[in-house]
């Protein structure tokens, strides 16, 4: 029974990692951008939820209604301007630009909102839980996060496989130049992919902001887990990212079951094992053709 609990807890934490990672995975898959500011974007989403949403007279639980569209728009604009300019140069510039963004965001948040810790207060909802058995209690909040993660990844997968825009995203991801030759405006497609990625990171940021206290500098820690989830699952594969997140969560919980000191280590061991045995990740594609 104790193992069942461990796995269930792992799946719950892991789906948060997956939610956090899917935007990273998408941006890497489509634009080949390693967005080092991904974690900071989530933090910005948290601050937006705290400081902007009250102006709309919305309960904090509903902050995503405002934050997600704003972030989608922000993602599109950022991609079409700054990030596109960087991509037009070379990958190294792109990496530097996202790193720069990360630094700028952190400092701007510090300037505007000070170093004070913040948390999105959803009141008593945060404490509600479901007593499954004498040894297993599942918080409703983690359940909701898991449901959101699965729903997001499922609908994203459907969008990519069933719609024309989704097809164009995949085409651009495969061969940007060939897609242009098919009449696809790859910059616009990049913008859309970025908008989706930012919308998901907004959701992750809000979930993160509810679950803990965050600071302008909180972005980095989450970025690491998101990277691990993406790499374990296979770069560019959304199902891989979901699986990667869940496996990361479960292996952390298994590690923690032996000793809390091994919690993060457990995840890192899985990460290294995957890198050693299957560097392209579990769902990753080998270079074809």
């Amino acid at each position: 029974m104790i193992w069942v609990n461990t796995v269930i807890e792992g799946v719950l934490v892991g789906s948060f990692y997956a939610l956090f990672a899917c935007g990273l995975s998408l941006m890497f898959g489509v634009m080949k951008i390693i967005n080092l500011a991904h974690g900071d974007m989530a933090v910005v989403a948290g601050y937006t939820a705290i400081f902007l949403v009250p102006k709309f007279h919305l309960a904090p639980v509903w902050s995503f209604v405002v934050v997600v569209p704003i972030f989608a728009l922000f993602g599109y604009v950022l991609q079409r301007t700054l990030l596109q300019k960087a991509i037009d140069r070379d990958p190294f510039t792109t990496l530097l630009v996202t790193f720069g963004l990360s630094v700028i965001i952190e400092n701007l948040l510090l300037e505007i909102y000070t170093a004070n810790g913040q948390s999105i207060d959803i009141g008593v909802l945060i404490s509600k839980s479901w007593q499954v058995s004498s040894t297993l209690t599942i918080s409703y909040f983690s359940l909701v996060v898991m449901a959101v993660a699965v729903a997001v990844l499922l609908s994203l997968q459907l969008f990519l496989s069933r719609t024309g825009t989704g097809r164009q995203i995949r085409a651009v991801s495969d061969d940007r130049e060939a897609a242009q030759l098919c009449g696809t405006n790859y910059r616009h497609i990049f913008g859309i992919a970025s908008a989706i990625a930012f919308a998901t990171v907004a959701l992750a940021g809000i979930a993160y902001g509810i679950s803990t206290e965050f600071f302008p500098s909180s972005g980095g820690a989450n970025l690491l887990f998101a990277f691990e989830a993406v790499v374990i699952g296979g770069i560019g594969s959304l199902w891989g990212t979901l699986l990667g997140g869940v496996l990361l969560g479960v292996s952390q919980q298994l590690g923690a079951h032996f000793s809390p000191a091994y919690q993060v280590l457990g995840g890192n061991i899985l990460f290294l094992a995957v890198l050693a045995v299957r560097p392209q990740g579990l769902f990753g594609k080998r270079t074809e053709m």
């Binding site: 934490v13 918080s139 206290e213 600071f215 923690a256 000191a261």
Partner: protein
């Protein structure tokens, strides 16, 4: 336990709960040593130039190194307000007369950005470029240790605060903490400090545990949430023995310690640890809780503890919940979480500069800044009081050795209460001890607020360690 392998020197070294270990301090010290070497070269030059300046001007320059930004910025929150009061006080505004010369006083503030190496750098700048006569610094080992190390190397008087003395002491090369928690080594020549240390943490929290124990049928089992970082390992090593020694001396019933395990900072899930605490020891779940986590980790942990239905009778936390920001971020779950306070507007203490009471001080802070008072305002204020106390004792404020020695002789009453740098009970020469009280965060505001109501306030609930400070509210179990 835990850190034997990382300790290289022969004597058993102790690490300091809540604030960074000696080992950590030593590392900072070594890092700062690089800066020291640099300073050494120019020290003579700086000395010569400042001596020349002395005859010409009649200005005393004070450097203040503080973490205005970064992880420790909460501590520096009241800096601006405090400095405005200090600069307005007659000694600082009109200058002081030493011997037959009237000296203006200038304060130069430098931001350490919460980064030890930048702290060392700005201290060096203050000495080399600004030519300061002395440096004061505050907030955590990350700031005070590198600044002190640079000053010691350059031979510039330095006063630190808000750092457990053990960590600060260990930051000087050759110094360590003995098995009995005593200071081993030679006191630094140019540096002094005031704050408190490990035993005060225990002596502050334990009486609260005993009172809750007497009121409830709680289990005498306590949970320790200590991360795998220098603070956490220090707490794990120092807390149980210190507590056992105190309980043993009082012939009380021993407490059982349950270690949550050395988790990694910024872990996102604590359900395993929480179930360890629920299981407790000998069939009894943990009813008391001590920790020293990073603020976001306590936030995550405490929310998950409530989800998992682990409700300790009393949570006494260290390193977090010192400032209102953590409390507001946690919301209702902050109710009756206890911690320590080294300054409170509730105290009967007064400014040695202007006679302003602690209460007026805090009330004005709230009026001017619209922010809730924070305890670091008291310690920062005292830094500048003590500077005046020391300067009054010297004949030449540019005589660095004399000023440094004067700091170690200060014995006065000020914003943080009575403080004697030369008391026999001090851990070492030049270390002044103030006594914290136990507080609990409870809804509502104390009367001093006046204009604005704050939804949470720290209420003094236990004054075992410092009877001067009256109790404001009853100690209540964190969870009934």
């Amino acid at each position: 336990m835990g850190n034997e392998e990382s300790v290289s020197s022969g004597s058993r070294e102790q690490t300091i709960p809540g604030w960074g270990s000696v080992e950590f301090g030593r590392r900072l010290g070594l890092k700062a040593l690089g800066a020291t070497a640099l300073v050494g070269g120019v020290a003579a030059l700086a000395e010569a130039s400042s001596a020349a300046a002395a005859t010409k001007s009649g200005t005393i320059k004070i450097g203040y190194v503080t973490p205005s930004t970064g992880a420790l910025a909460d501590f520096a929150g009241p800096d601006k307000f405090v400095l405005s009061l200090i600069r307005a006080s007659s000694q600082y505004a009109k200058g002081i007369t030493i011997g037959k010369t009237k000296y203006k006083i200038e304060i130069i503030v430098k931001n350490s950005q919460s980064d030890p190496s930048i702290a060392g750098q700005v201290a060096t700048e203050l000495i080399q470029s600004s030519g300061v006569d002395l440096i004061v610094t505050s907030s955590a080992p990350e700031t005070t240790i590198p600044v002190s190390a640079v000053c010691e190397g350059a031979g510039v008087p330095c006063l630190s605060t808000v750092c457990p003395w053990e960590a600060w002491w260990g930051g000087f090369t050759g110094n360590s903490i003995g098995a009995a928690g005593n200071a081993v080594g030679t006191p630094p020549e140019f540096c002094s400090m005031f704050f408190f240390g490990v035993p005060e943490f225990v002596e502050c929290f334990l009486p609260m545990w005993n009172r809750v124990l007497a009121k409830t049928n709680a289990n005498q089992v306590y949970a320790g949430m200590f991360p795998n970082d220098s603070d956490g390992n220090a707490f794990r090593a120092a807390w149980p023995p210190t507590q056992n020694a105190i309980v043993g001396a009082e012939k009380g019933t021993p407490w059982t310690f349950v270690d949550g395990g050395a988790y990694t900072d910024l872990t996102s899930d604590y359900t395993n640890m929480i179930s360890t605490f629920k299981t407790g020891s000998g069939g009894k779940s943990c009813d008391f809780f001590i920790n020293c986590p990073l603020p976001p980790d306590f936030n995550t942990f405490w929310k998950q503890a409530s989800q998992q239905d682990w409700n300790p009778k009393l949570a006494t936390v260290a390193k977090v919940m010192l400032f209102p920001t953590d409390v507001y971020a946690l919301g209702d779950l902050s109710n009756n979480v206890a911690t320590d306070a080294w300054f409170t507007p509730n105290s009967p203490y007064k400014s040695s500069l202007t006679g302003m009471t602690a209460n007026t001080f805090a009330a004005n802070y709230q009026k001017v800044t619209k922010q809730q008072w924070v305890q670091s305002m008291g310690s920062t204020y005292s830094l500048f009081e003590i500077v005046i106390q020391a300067l009054k004792k010297v004949h030449n404020p540019h005589d660095r050795k004399a000023v440094a020695a004067a700091f170690k002789q200060v014995n006065y009453d000020g914003m943080c209460g009575p403080l004697n740098f030369s008391a026999a009970t001090n851990p070492a020469k030049g270390i002044g001890i103030i006594k914290p009280v136990g507080i609990q965060w409870k809804p509502g505001s104390t009367e001093l607020v006046g204009h604005k109501k704050f939804s949470w306030s720290p209420w003094v609930v236990d004054n075992t360690l410092n009877k001067h400070i009256p109790i404001q509210a009853a100690l209540e179990p964190t969870n009934a």
